[in-house]
Amino acid sequence: MTGASAAWPLLALRVLGGEAWAFWWGCAVWRRARSNKERNLADWGYGYLLAGFLRGGLLLALSALGIRWRLWILVAAESTIFLAARPWRPAGKASPREGHAPLPAVEWALIGVISLAALSVTFQTLCEPLRAYDFLAIWGLKARTMFLEGGLTHTLLTAPALDFSHREYPLGWPLKLAGASLFAGEWDEQALGILPLANFLACLLLVLGTVRRLTGNRSCALFSAAFSATLAPLWTSAFSGMADAPLAAAIFASVSLLDEHLNGMGEAAAAGCLVAIPGWTKTEGLIAVAYVIAAALWKRRERLDREVGLFCLLAAVPAVLWALRVQLSGLRLHRDLASGLPDDLLARAGETLRFLATRVVWPSLPLLMAGLILVVPAFWRKRFPREAVFYAIWAAAVSGAIAMSRLPLTFHLPSALPRLLSLPLPLLGVPMAETLAPKKKKGPAVAGP
């Protein structure tokens, strides 16, 4: 405990200030890196995620140099990055905005749904501290340890009190929590609720911008955002303080980035960092990283150049470096996986499939049917439906990992699997929107909202 002295709303305002600053300079860096200068709401989401990733990297660098974390040092380092992005220079020729046509009733309704969801999530997040046990024992505990110790010290890897904290888990989320606490000046689980909220909003911006860019249709973009905002199993578990909210946003960012063209080393570097974030946030995020790297290599197989190499390298580096660090530490770790296959693998696989059928698919059959009606036509109408393919890979991977682990299924299937399956669902809003969108007429691309 830090001897907290201020009421949490004041601390929350400080956290909000820190996140607003990160949003500002992150957007400046991302805007500078991008070669495509079209205005798009998704760039705000990308910028925010990129800033969080770079902030974590700066904090790690300070620890590696033996410098105790101080707010002024962090702000100075971030200001240097901000100034290096030369934000005073025009970021290029922005495409003209559309005229402000009056919103039809259906768009007002969709905005109402998004607003209702955002208010509900904000209310639920702020009216009590982040308190899930995994937050208290894993994510928050690590962040609090780093914050109190002023950096990533030996304590995190050796202290017995942190033995259950899964030392091998990636540090992206704890670093974000610790960085925000530097701005707050104290550790407060209620003020830190700002962070999952910010990631929720970043995810909505990514969905809005991406779908708008792909379909050129505002109603479809709003539908996808409303679909993502009302995914209750995802957002209510995310706001308990676990790494789900940032991972959901990061998965959407990395997979949707496959549509971006890597037209320069700066853009390849920034995009590579963004793709790295899921694997640096949660172990399951490595599925997204591996998928995007494989898809990028396949897509550019005719022209593998330095940009693709840099993109893939940066995407893989954080997870690889952390895995090496943990392996070389010689610690005895409590692994969920990689501890050998269970003897009753077939029985476990059967039980997992039975759980999927009876507890996941069957209770939500109407939703599933509605989803299929919206997703399947996009398979042949528009383009290769990478979001649906990724979701199938993700579902198979997380279900298979639980079946192949030695974790008791009676506990882990109900507590983990539905939550994990919900994480990439915002991606499915993209093919849904493509099904709903009227066919594009040939012509110049439409600017974002």
């Binding site: 002295s5 009590e128 308190r131």
Partner: protein, 149 residues
Amino acid sequence: VRAGAWIARAAAAFLLVIQTRGILPDNIPNRWAALLRSTTVALAPRRAAGSGASLDRNFDLFMAHVRANTPEHAVILLVISPDPNRRASLAWYWHRSNFLAAPRLVYPEEVLRQNPARVDYVALYGGGELPAGVPSVRPIPGGLLGRAP
């Protein structure tokens, strides 16, 4: 094509209606009261007063009572009560008699079935029920103490 478009729109509307029903919070008056109460109180008093983040202090109190009600070298299985955010799940921790050893994730059914460490007592923190077959010894502040079978 037109029929297909209408089916897709109907499916989209159905999807949103069903999903929107699940986003409203339950127990709004209590949440609102907690929000108002917490806005004027710092974290340390909020923890001490028994808010959602009170695990530290209340847990220490519970542990003190467990120690006081068990022999010095007893092996105790500590069970943390249902996670309030996921009402069906339980988090389980294993502690040796002094409660200072590193906690390790275990599952009470397995521990009690195999009982390799010869568990003497089961301490349930925060409510809920003791595992099946574990008789209750006495309630203590913050939970229940049971005798391992």
